[in-house]
């Protein structure tokens, strides 16, 4: 039946994660460091509010842009905590996860043949969504020697005049890198000079372990140029609820809302109710989770360095991205052999783009006991090789 498929769908590559998922699923008793979601469950206060709303019969559609109460609270929250000012009336759209917001943003801006600059390595959905828009993808390397921060020199090399969008995703999945205000300023100047729209995926912004996260839209002249994307999945442990949002210039948000209204209609109401409760009263639960991630982050970095692998200190998200070149194995070989020999699942860096070669992504969204056991198995595996 392939002859019926559109070339776009036909050529859409399966995520690099997929192959590993299938492989890991065949191994019994595996300890996985491969999960991109919190090990905590959603704070009960949020779950309970969703259950109550269902009991009250709140089972209908919401407005396309999302519950106005949620948009108002989000607007207040962003203003108070991130110095971001968006009107709840026409500058905020509630989406089904941040991934939908990324997809909508690309569809609203790109036409086939437009260029898009995507950091490499980065979250798997950016390239996938860009290719569905028929865009011409330009990868911009995030280099280990720069602590995986985006450098304007690399942007200049990757840029061509057809580029319309630059994707930013800091704190970064898979590297855990963050970018400070000073790191971001040259990128902002480059965006202005080259008239780029920025899709800034800041889903991990609450999980920043040093200093304050800088939202890209707060940089000079970036407010109108930036589509600020975030969501509740990571900081509020709500991955399965699928609730995210986009904020930006009303023209762009209205265009994204039009696409959203025909494809999705609205994000699930119970998830919106839970998110609203999270903004009002989920702060202490969120802080507890952040403290615990921070502790595990230090444990993992120390663990990998003790094994003898180079591991840069990630200051965001919940991943470490150690370098495995000392083993002379490619990322996928390392991950596959580690899985077979020691039953530890990690994700090869190349699943996030060719720039991930020489690294593996290890999530620390696991209990300390699991992390220590995984580290000891990885140590045994590495010591056999080097």
């Amino acid at each position: 039946m392939k002859q019926y498929l559109s070339p776009l769908a036909l050529n859409l590559k399966p995520s690099g994660i997929r192959r590993f998922f299938d492989l890991a699923a065949t191994v019994e008793g595996v300890i996985s460091l491969g999960v991109g979601e919190p090990d905590f469950t959603t704070p009960w206060v949020m779950t309970e509010s969703a259950i109550f709303s269902l009991e009250q019969g709140q089972t209908m559609y919401t407005s396309n842009a999302g519950l106005i109460e949620l948009r108002r609270e989000l607007s207040k929250y962003m203003a108070k905590h991130q110095a971001l000012n968006y009107s709840p009336d026409n500058e905020i759209l509630i989406t089904v996860g941040a991934s939908e917001a990324v997809d909508l943003a690309m569809r609203a801006i790109l036409v086939p043949g437009d260029g898009i600059l995507i950091p490499d390595p980065s979250y798997v959905a950016y390239a996938g969504c860009a290719s569905m828009s028929g865009a011409d993808i330009h990868y911009v390397p995030l280099r280990a020697e720069h602590d995986f921060r985006l450098k304007v020199e690399d942007l200049q090399l990757a840029y061509t005049p057809n580029c319309k969008i630059l994707v930013l995703s800091f704190p970064n999945n898979p590297t855990g890198a963050i970018m400070t205000r000073d790191d971001l300023l040259p990128i902002a100047r480059f965006a202005s000079e080259n008239d780029l729209i920025i899709i800034s995926d800041e889903i991990y912004s609450d999980l920043t372990y040093a200093g304050q996260h800088t939202p890209f839209a707060t940089l000079p002249f970036m407010h109108n140029r930036t589509i600020h994307v975030s969501g509740f999945s990571k900081a509020y442990a709500m991955t399965g609820w699928r609730i995210g949002y986009a904020a930006g210039h009303p023209d762009i948000i209205q265009a994204m809302t039009r696409i959203h209204q025909y494809t999705i209609m609205c994000a699930p109401i119970m998830a919106q109710v839970a998110a609203l409760e999270g903004l009002k009263s989920g702060d202490s639960a969120k802080k507890e989770m952040i403290l615990e991630y921070d502790r595990r982050r230090r444990l993992m970095v120390h663990g990998f360095r003790e094994i003898g692998l180079t591991c840069f200190e990630p200051l965001g998200a919940f991943y470490v991205f150690p370098e495995i070149t000392a083993t002379r194995l490619r990322s996928d070989e390392f991950a596959e052999q580690l899985l077979k020999e020691e039953k530890v699942a990690v994700v090869p860096g190349t699943a996030f783009g060719p720039g991930g070669e020489g690294h593996i992504r290890c999530s620390y969204a696991y209990s300390t006991q699991q992390l220590l056991e995984a580290l000891s198995r990885i140590k045994r595996f590495v010591k056999k090789i080097i």
Binding site: G34, L291, E292, R298, L299
Partner: protein
């Protein structure tokens, strides 16, 4: 006011007090020297009162019953409830003593081998005290959560996928 560093240290200690200063240093990013000094200070200031283990006795085949005993007492002139509360503190069977708002004045948590043990303790030791007006004893039948730890239900928690993006 706690500093961010101290909050980090207390968080890790509250999760696992068996960690050595070196292990604590790895998990908090603070130096072992600082950690040693801080812990000593907290111990002498009675901020850290005890290093204990949370045990789920329901998992052991051991007779152990816990009761919450609410008491109405007569406050004493010049001393309020302190004097009588201090007297209760001395009984090893009484694990906790709280001054409460509401219908009763004090709440005791009492442990014994069985209900009979506790009933005996109430009738022999508590009820005869002049200052006690009324008691109400309630036994704990099942412990679902204690000190922030869930004892039941975790095993039924759905599993995450092995690998996700």
């Amino acid at each position: 006011m706690l500093t961010e560093e101290d909050r980090r240290l207390l968080h890790v200690l509250s999760q696992d007090c068996r960690l050595t200063p070196e292990e604590l240093s790895i998990q908090t990013g603070l130096t072992p020297d600082y950690i040693n000094k801080k812990i000593k200070q907290w111990e002498s200031d009675k901020v850290i009162v005890r290093y204990s283990t949370l045990i789920n006795y329901d998992q052991l085949e051991e007779d152990r019953v816990t009761a919450l005993i609410d008491l109405k007492v007569m406050p004493q002139r010049g001393q309020g409830y302190d004097k009588i509360a201090q007297r209760f503190q001395k009984f090893p069977e009484i694990k906790s003593v709280y001054l409460m708002s509401g219908d009763f004045d004090l709440c005791l948590i009492v442990e014994g081998k069985n209900m009979h043990d506790i009933a005996q303790f109430v009738s022999d030791k508590l009820s005869p005290l002049d200052l006690i007006e009324t008691t109400s004893t309630r036994f704990i039948l099942r412990r679902y959560k204690q000190d922030g730890v869930e004892f039941h239900g975790e095993e039924e928690r759905p599993q995450r996928l092995v690998i996700t993006p």
